[in-house]
């Protein structure tokens, strides 16, 4: 039942864009029909998931398929249920948001294309999440990847967008090829394309390692784990915002899903893998947020935060793997539970943030943080939503971000607690790193929120911005509600997470510790409510105080300077300057400043940027070098027929002498 509902939803979502194609370029009705179908499909999918949770039963749908080794086999288990929720939820909200954000009348060129691929991407992701057969999985995977490519290049008439799309395409195809190899090795190990746990007895020595490494590279490229993140920032920045929300909130999680799924197949993962994942997670987390602090582009900044959060998720997964190799149920539950919950949370607040960013761009026509400012006055609702998202992504109570990080903290500290002295204490060093990540995130989002929404407008556009239409505000509202719900009542989620974890580690005995007993979820609720009540109380106190006493309005105290202008405000770059300086060794910021100015300096300009090191220093040079090498090889084909005939002769000799 649940499977059929989800499949129905997938079909409807996939075909949602077609009617729009048939209707005119600027037809409002096409837009409405498409959106309605997409929403319907997503709703059905969510219904299927809820049904699965309610009944807890799953009946795999199996159909014959006349491809070698392929079999149409889909089933929902705890893991796929977890990942299905963001797919459908964010898609649903994103489609509604698109009504106002990407009006067909305003974008006759690409509106229909965008809606079509939005649907197919949703379908592809949902399919790969429930697929139980490698080939079916690959189908879903590639449908998702290609749709994402077309979505990123929605405005392909801009050069920058084309380049971005190209980098994304290369990255995703390399990932796909890694998956080819991965599934081939799996097939060799398991003897079938049906995805299932590996049998230790048939497993060849090197196979498990090969599987893990291939999965790490293939899925890591999609998830954007640190050195593999090259495509991510610009892709998120260039895409339309509700697409960015989908990509950052859901698409990169598909990489995580793959990693989780594959690791669940490995019988006895060596502890080094867990350590490796933990290290990668720390690297992605710290560096991701460090890069984010250096950005001026609102959406680019949010994209780097996706890398950071992926890092946190990977840390949780690594912890779970360590727990698996040491048979520590509590580490598995806390680590994986935290990771999966963070998958949800990140989907929620990152989608929220991207939608808010979309509203900002929609209203102020720029992504440059330093050209915005003072939007809290002109678009109060959006700014409130953004504030909630910001607090949530910093992992601050009483919102959802805190809960997942809390679980991971408990798990990491737990690694200290296993009796003998020199156990896995090393891994507990990830806890301070997580703290560092949190603090950096706070710094970064204070900067963003302050520079974009507070103070006074730095440009005309920002001054004349306007609040977004309800069709854009409503989805944000829903996301805000979800953030509060999970943040205040994590106990509701506990059974779902428990189910997922036991799907990941079946050998985890059923009577083992429960998440609810390992983590004081009730206390989180209590403290959250207490915090909110106290805040209201404090607010009331201040309000009454101000009510009684004289309150005057005045200009900001400029420390004696009487005519402050918007340009005097602290910009985001100056706010970040110290932190960027601390991370100079990896960020390699570039500054263009005037040299030796005269005594009375003329009008001049200062400009600083933080490019992506991995892309600019490693990847692109490698590509250029290879291209140069290849162009050099062209001397082989100089059009001289005598030489060509010689080639034939030489090939003949060479092959004749072959043994």
């Amino acid at each position: 039942m649940s499977e059929s509902l989800v499949l129905l939803g997938i079909i409807i979502a996939a075909s949602s864009g077609v009617p729009g194609l048939l209707l005119g370029r600027t037809s409002i009705s096409g837009q409405w029909v498409t959106t309605f179908l997409a929403v319907l499909g997503a709703a059905l999918g969510l219904g299927g998931v809820v049904w699965f949770w309610a009944t807890g039963e799953s009946h795999p749908v199996v159909l014959q398929w006349s491809l070698p080794g392929a079999e149409f086999r889909v089933a929902i288990d705890g893991l796929s249920a977890i990942f299905l929720v963001p797919v459908f939820l964010i898609s649903l909200l994103g489609n509604i948001y698109g009504l106002g954000y990407w009006k067909q009348t305003e974008h006759p060129q690409n509106g229909r294309k965008l809606r079509l691929f939005y649907g197919t991407m949703t379908a592809g992701m949902a399919l790969l999440v429930i697929a139980q057969n490698s080939i079916l999985f690959l189908f879903g995977w590639e449908i998702m990847a290609l749709s994402a490519f077309f979505l990123v290049t929605t405005e392909d008439n801009e050069k920058e967008v084309r380049e971005t799309g190209w980098i994304y395409l290369v990255a995703t195809h390399v990932a796909t090829l890694c998956l080819f190899a991965l599934f081939a090795v799996l097939h060799a190990a398991n003897g079938s394309f049906t995805l299932g746990p590996l049998k230790p007895e048939t497993l060849r020595p090197g196979a498990a390692t090969a599987i893990f490494v291939l999965a790490l590279v293939g899925f890591g490229l999609k998830a954007g784990i640190m050195p593999l993140h090259i495509w991510l920032p610009s892709a998120h920045a260039m895409a339309p915002s509700h697409v960015s929300a989908m990509m950052s909130g859901v698409l990169i999680k598909m990489g995580i899903y793959g990693l989780v799924r594959i690791t669940s197949f490995l019988p006895h993962p060596p502890r080094e893998w867990g350590i490796l994942l933990l290290g990668l997670g720390v690297a992605s987390g710290v560096l991701g947020v460090a890069f984010a602090i250096g950005q001026h582009d609102l959406k680019r900044l949010l994209a780097y935060h996706s890398i950071e959060n992926i890092g946190i998720i990977v840390m949780g997964l690594g912890l779970a793997l360590i727990g698996r190799s040491l048979d520590r149920a509590d580490w598995i539950i806390l680590g994986l539970g935290g990771a999966l919950l963070h998958v949800w949370n990140h989907a929620l607040f990152k989608a929220l943030l991207f939608l808010c960013a979309g509203s900002v761009i929609h209203a102020a026509h720029t992504r440059e943080i330093d050209r915005l400012g003072g939007l809290a006055k002109v678009m109060p609702r959006t700014s409130l939503c953004f504030l909630v998202g910001a607090v949530a992504i910093c992992g601050l109570p009483p919102l959802n971000g805190f809960v997942s990080e809390f679980l991971i903290y408990l798990g990491l500290f737990g690694t200290l607690m296993n009796g003998e002295r020199r156990s896995f204490a090393g891994s507990s060093f990830a806890a301070p790193a997580l703290a560092l990540i949190g603090a950096l995130a706070v710094a970064c989002f204070v900067k963003v929120y302050g520079a974009v929404f507070l103070g006074t407008a730095r440009s005309e556009h920002a001054r004349h911005a306007h609040e977004s239409p309800p069709s854009m505000l409503a989805p944000m509202g829903v996301l805000v509600a979800c953030c509060f719900l999970i943040g205040l009542a994590p106990l509701l989620i506990a059974p779902i997470l428990q189910q997922a974890v036991s799907a990941w580690a079946p050998n985890l005995e059923v009577v083992g510790p429960r998440l609810a007993t390992l983590a004081p979820l009730v206390w989180i609720t209590v403290m959250g409510l207490l915090l909110i009540v106290a805040l209201l109380l404090g607010g009331a106190v201040l309000w009454t105080r101000l009510d009684r006493r004289a309150v005057e309005e005045g200009v900001t105290w400029g420390c004696g300077y009487v005519a402050p202008t918007p340009r005097m405000q602290y910009t985001s770059s100056s706010f970040a300057q110290m932190l960027v300086g601390m991370f100079r060794w990896v960020l390699r910021p570039r500054t263009h400043q005037p040299k030796d100015l005269p005594l009375f300096p003329p009008a001049t300009s200062f400009h600083s940027e933080v490019p992506d090191v991995v892309l600019d220093v490693v990847v692109l040079p490698t590509f250029r070098f290879t291209a140069w090498l290849f162009s050099w090889c062209r001397v082989l084909q100089q059009g001289n027929i005598q030489i060509y005939l010689l080639y034939i002769f030489l090939a003949l000799i060479a092959l004749l002498l072959w043994r």
Partner: protein, 214 residues
Amino acid sequence: MVPLLDPLLIVALTLNFVALGVSRIRGVINAVALQGVLLGILALFVHPAIGTRVILLVAVTVGLKGFVIPRYLVHALREANIQDEVKPGVGSFMGSLSLGAVGTGLAMVFSDTLPLAEQHKHLLLVPASLATVWTGFLMLTTRKRAIMQVLGYLLLENGIFMFGLLLLEATPFLVEVGILLDLFTGVFVMAIIIHHISREFASTSTEHLTELKG
């Protein structure tokens, strides 16, 4: 085996050198033509059991290789009023001649190592064919004139044909004729192309044909 076989083959081999060494295209054409005729006659000696099939085959071979194709080439030569001097593309005549000599020697040595059937040991046919093939390759890769390359191709075919003589049973008449027909058509089309080339570039040197690169 018939004693006359080896002398004929030696003549054929010498013709290779003539083809390599002569500086006039006509000369080369004639050499190749004569070799064709020899091949036809060879067929008679290789297969003492002379049947109508062999006779016919010889007739066709001699006719095509010995007369039709050379005539046609000469005609094309006149058509395209190609001047009748050729220089080897790489090195001198001496160079290509000595290369040919080395090749021939190697062919002799190499063919001794080949696991030939009993009746074909001590038979000059195999080395001769290898040597001729080698000569053809040499001509194809060292001559700049398109027409000379055609002749090289013909030498190549001659060499292969020589080997084919060893096993006429394997290749029925129909196939043999088909092969010869293909050969003729090939030369025919090539000649047409050469004609176009000479019209297009006012010369038949393949130096002009290096536009398509990379």
